[in-house]
């Protein structure tokens, strides 16, 4: 059995019979044709049972032919590409497609979990809130794991997604969702008037319901009209037609989200191509022509395989030439449902009966019935006889009380149509109820968006074309396009009449939400227990929260709630609609930004040189920085770093510090400006001098620090920490543009313009003499500590030289234009060779700054004051500056604050760790005596032991005190001494020398 397509009609359909495709479902091989969906191919092969339900594991068949499908969910593909919960009704068939049913074990036809059906009387809505509470520990040990295993649907892949995704922007005047009659007509009108149009269609062919229901437009068959229209649109340069693309959401300012399934119709994406692409479409106007969704009627056994929406049955028969059954019964409460009887007869199928809930049917249909030789039963279905094998017999409660039975192997159901009100409701607009069609229609749509056609409740073909055409023309007009829109496509309107019927009372489970197994009695129970708000109903029963977002269940659910609580449907209201309109792969939202491409990478000017030296790099924000330069034979990072530190302290070394933020501050008021943003004065700084500055936030807490030099009367060169570079620039621009507009000052980031190197160590001057123009005086007198000026370098380029020191050694920082950065590194190696110059990384930099007691990121943690850092004296009392006032608040000047202090283990062999807490000696650690913590640590080659900085209560008054470093996380607890934070050369002689 299998590959014979027993239910494929011999002719017709939009499938390519010359292109047979083989596929596998649950391990069995079948064949279908190009143009099939997985669902239509399964129908063609007579497969009725396709899945098991969420809670009761009931056998389920295909209910719909679109993205509203609640039942026919499969695991598509395998291995790393396995996609759980894929709707068979939208999955395009391709050669070799592999799919498996889900939520069953061991097999679809024999599912052990279907025993749940025996417990159905207990497993009612919300049952789990009422039990599993005793004994307490059992919930996590037993109950919950069991529930988790049983719940869920398909299995996601357990390894990294091998496919690529990307994201793109598109701009247009009018974006149109849907390419049915309304959408195509809208595109025609907008396109003809000269508008830039984007037409999104989630299907892989254009036409919407025309593909299944046909009709006559402008005297042409629907197919001919679609072809003609698409040809006309394709000829317009500014009209873009995007098939396999769903407009899923609307965001502020006319931004729309759309997902294009670029290559999901292939086994794997071709080389260099993406699987899916996320579109952000910026449009002046949007026409929602997303159509309407046929809704079920809730009756006992309505989830039996073989029960199918009437319109879906037409889609399978007309579009795919695949018939779900041979002898069909139809249950309808409206005129439209009858089309399925017409279709069945036209396709040479048997119609067993039409059960029409309305008191009467049109004469045309009467005669159809007599021609087709089937009865028209007035009444409602009270039960369906059949199991996983599908529908066998249908019981009908006739109006007036009598009963009837109908033998059929398929049941088409039409409860009327619900306009697709998702997109129009995503800005919390609430749809309004229209009595004549017994359905909600869009209301309160986001600015610039209108619905047209059946999405707007216009169910006739003529009306769809008219509304679409007018909406398209109006949208183009609003966007300022006024070309000639030509003539409107015309078709007849077929009458639509409906007598609402939501639920047929009767014995047996009647399902409202088939995927979540929510029954009519669950809705009644929720009402009984006080969950009467629709939002409570949804949350208590999980109605409408499944992967179909309740497209086929929400309205029926609230209609039943309305009935039992004695309210009208509009009074009961709808839940809030949430994007996306269809589920969208998370990978598509990430696009290119995953793995190494998650964020951009910044490289220093000497990066590639450092890489050649075998440097180990560390991520610092977006930067890659050389962390240390290992040498052959060194056993670990500590050995390398210690070597680098010793080399600097005894000779000379250099380090690329280009990652510091660098800002040109220009203008006559530059000094006055800096006076206001720094706590200390800069207007008084002499040209050719540098000064360390500290910035506060307006709340008095330290924001950033750095060295700023005055290069000219009206030009300062400001540096920030690496971490805050961008934020400080933004802050300074705020001060300049918003707080102090009266100052004449200009700011430019020059972070990328300059390659900057720190050169440090007693032999620094010797090295510089080799590379700096001999004419330059680098002596202590000629270039004193904190001096800053431009110098020439041998070979003709100019550099900026700053005599500043982070290491505590005699040191300079030198900057050259960035494209010389790599040459600078090489030349420093050449110039320094006689002095054993050593490149050092951020670790050695950190060691030396801790030895020197300089604060950095771990101390500037956004909660410390200048006083905490021991820099309180820098706060000028002669001027106003940002943060001055709030820094004076009582708790910020309390003598009991945690302040920066040096810390070293009393046992010199001990390793000190950041994050250890400080507890007074001899006390039991507790909230009451947690006096601070270790912020930064290093192994100090100078002191030959681990040392650190910490923030400790009244630390500076307690120098010499022995306290406990308490580190339960790492199972450590040891004595440390609080000491001066400057471990190395406290009087600073070396850096001045």
């Amino acid at each position: 059995m299998g590959g014979d397509q027993t239910n494929r009609l011999t002719s017709g359909g939009l499938i390519d019979r010359s292109a047979a495709l083989n596929f596998r479902f649950d391990g069995k091989t079948f064949s279908g044709f190009k143009g099939d969906t997985l669902a239509s191919a399964l129908v063609a092969n007579g497969v009725k049972l396709v899945g098991r339900s969420f809670k009761y594991h009931r056998p389920r068949g295909i209910l719909t032919a679109g993205s509203e499908e609640p039942n026919a969910l499969v695991e598509l593909r395998s291995g790393a590409r396995r996609e759980a919960n894929t709707k068979a009704t939208t999955a395009e068939l391709y050669e070799g497609l592999e799919a498996a049913s889900q939520n069953r074990w061991p097999s679809l036809s024999f599912d052990v979990m279907s025993v749940n059906q025996l417990f159905a009387p207990i497993f009612v809505a919300g049952f789990y809130y009422k039990t599993f509470m005793w004994p307490a520990k059992f919930w996590e040990a037993i109950y919950e794991p069991a529930i988790r295993r049983a719940a869920g649907l398909g299995r996601a892949a357990k390894v990294s997604d091998p496919d690529h995704y990307d994201k793109a922007w598109a701009h247009c005047d009018v974006v149109i969702a849907g390419s049915g009659p309304a959408g195509l007509a809208a595109a025609l009108a907008a396109g003809r008037s000269g508008a830039r149009v984007i037409l999104c269609e989630e299907d892989f062919v254009l036409g919407g319901r025309l593909l299944a229901d046909g009709g006559t437009i402008d005297g042409l068959s629907a197919a001919e009209w679609v072809a003609r229209t698409v040809a006309e649109l394709s000829a317009m340069p500014d009209v873009r037609i995007m098939t396999r693309t769903t407009l899923f959401g609307v965001y502020d300012g006319g931004t729309y989200g759309a997902i294009e399934r670029v290559n999901d119709h292939l086994p794997v994406p071709p080389e260099h191509q993406v699987r899916q692409r996320l579109w952000r479409i910026v449009a002046k106007r949007c026409v929602v022509a997303a159509g309407a969704i046929e809704r079920p009627i809730v009756f006992a056994g309505n989830d039996t395989p073989g029960v199918m929406m009437a319109s879906a049955m037409r889609s399978y028969i007309n579009r795919y030439a695949a018939t779900p059954s041979r002898r069909i019964a139809l249950f309808t409460n409206n005129e439209d449902g009858w089309r399925t009887a017409e279709t069945a007869i036209a396709a040479g199928l048997q119609v067993a009966a039409v059960i029409d809930a309305r008191p009467d049917v049109s004469p045309a249909h009467r005669s159809l019935a007599s021609k087709g030789g089937f009865p028209v039963l007035h009444g409602a279905i009270s039960g369906v006889d059949g199991g996983k094998g599908g529908v066998r017999k249908i019981s009908v409660a006739l109006t007036g009380g009598a009963r009837a039975e109908v033998e059929a192997d398929g049941l088409a159901v039409s409860g009327g149509w619900n306009p697709a009100v998702g997109l129009t409701s995503y800005h919390r607009g609430r749809p309004k109820w229209r009595v004549d069609i017994a359905a909600f229609v869009p209301d309160g749509a986001p600015p610039g968006m209108v619905a047209a056609g059946s999405a707007n409740g216009a169910f006739g073909l003529g009306a769809c074309l008219r509304e679409g055409f007018e909406a398209g023309a109006a949208a183009a007009r609003d966007a300022g396009r006024s070309g000639n829109i030509g003539s409107m496509p015309v078709a007849d309107d077929d009458a639509f009449s409906i007598t609402p019927l939501w639920h047929v009372a009767g014995k047996g489970k009647a399902f409202v939400d088939q995927q979540h197994d929510v029954t009519a009695s669950d809705v009644e129970l929720a009402q009984r227990e006080g969950f009467q708000s629709v939002e409570h109903l949804k949350r208590y029963t999980t109605l409408g929260m499944a992967t179909d977002q309740g497209k086929t269940s929400n309205v029926a659910g609230l209609a039943i709630m309305a009935a039992v609580s004695g309210k009208s449907i509009p009074e009961t209201g709808t839940t809030i609609y949430r994007p996306p309109y269809v589920p969208v792969a998370i990978g598509a939202f990430a696009g290119h930004h995953r793995d190494e491409n998650f964020h951009a990478t910044r490289l220093t000017p000497s990066h590639h040189w450092a890489a050649e030296q075998g440097a180990i790099f560390v991520d610092t924000g977006l930067w890659k920085r050389a962390q240390w330069y290992p040498r052959a034979g060194e056993k670990d990072w500590l050995e390398s770093v210690t070597r680098e530190v010793k080399a600097v302290r005894s000779g000379v070394g250099f380090c690329d510090v280009s990652t510091l933020g660098k800002i040109d501050v220009h203008g006559p008021d530059a000094g006055a400006f800096l006076d206001r943003v720094y706590i200390n004065a800069f207007s008084s700084l002499a040209v050719g001098k540098a000064r360390y500055g500290l910035m506060l936030r307006e709340d008095g807490i330290v924001y950033d620090d750095g060295t700023t030099s005055r290069l000219a009367e009206d030009h300062y060169f400001l540096t920030t920490t690496t971490a805050k570079a961008g934020l400080v620039m933004q802050h300074l621009e705020f001060c300049r543009q918003v707080l102090f507009p009266e100052l004449d000052v200009q700011l430019t980031s020059v972070s990328d313009q300059w390659a900057q190197f720190s050169i440090a160590g007693p032999k620094t001057r010797d090295l510089l003499k080799v590379i700096v123009d001999p004419a330059e005086d680098l002596s202590n007198e000629g270039f004193p500590f904190m001096g800053a000026r431009e110098v020439g370098l041998r070979g003709g380029i100019k550099a900026r030289l700053f005599r500043i020191s982070f290491s505590g050694e005699m040191a300079f920082e030198i900057s050259v234009p960035a494209r010389y950065g790599e040459a600078m590194a090489r030349n420093l190696m050449i110039a320094g060779k006689p002095f054993g110059v050593t490149p050092y990384g951020t670790e050695a930099l950190g060691v030396m700054r801790i030895e020197k007691g300089h604060v950095a990121g771990p101390e500037l943690n956004g909660t410390t004051t200048a006083g905490d850092l021991g820099l309180g004296k820098m706060m000028s009392t002669k001027k106003d500056f940002i943060g001055r006032v709030m820094a004076g608040r009582e708790a910020l000047v309390s003598p009991n604050r945690q302040v920066v202090v040096g810390i070293k283990p009393t046992d010199k062999a001990r390793r000190l760790r950041s994050g250890a807490h400080i507890i007074p000696k001899g006390e039991t650690p507790g909230p009451g005596n947690d006096q601070g913590y270790v912020t930064s640590v290093c192994f100090s080659p100078v002191l030959d032991q681990w040392i650190g900085l910490g923030l400790v209560e009244r630390g500076r008054e307690r120098i010499g005190e022995i306290v406990r470093a308490h580190d339960p996380l790492r199972g450590e607890d040891y004595d440390v001494e609080l000491c001066n934070s400057v471990f190395y050369d406290p009087d600073g002689g070396r850096q001045r020398g």
């Binding site: 952000r280 290119h592 220093t604 370098l793 030349n827």
Partner: protein, 208 residues
Amino acid sequence: MADFSWDVRSPLDRALVAGSYGAQGDAGVALTEIRNFDLVQVMARRGKAAEMAKAAQARFGVAAPETPKAVGTADATLIWSGPDQFLVLSRGGKHTMDSLAPVFAGSTSLSDQSHARALISVSGDKARAVLAKLSSIDLHPDVFGVGAAAATSMDHTSVTLWRGADRADGQAVFNLLVFSTFAESLWHTILDSAAEYGATIGHSEELM
């Protein structure tokens, strides 16, 4: 002791591999890095906008752009970079800080950006398709014509984007000034975006 040699290295020196990239067949896009240029940021001082404009007019013979535009002159391109400021882009050594300082003395602040940016030109019939993955700007010919410019972002990184003169074959040319330290990273992102169309990659010392 002999002088040191100071060879310049473009930030794309390592990343740029001349030749073809991505899909085979007719390349949909050409990616060219232009090297050897001077780039100076010119910012009007308080109340000096008019003076700056005058100075620019005198020096370049055209009005400096007041709106997001790129204005070509005989030997420079003036690119709007923000309110009351613009960039002067020229062949290496043409309009340097030193040569512009006297021109704008008093009315402006100048900042050298010559080494702060890399210059990449993107052209070809898929140029817009590639840029649509990187830029949120509408590059439709009617909206972003020759000479249009934008201070914008790509991949969360600031870039200066402008449309230069069309290629000889009529294809549009989009120029990107990107920050040097981001250049290699952004370059790889551009390559990823271009791969499906196929790209021809090269560099040039000749500023168009």
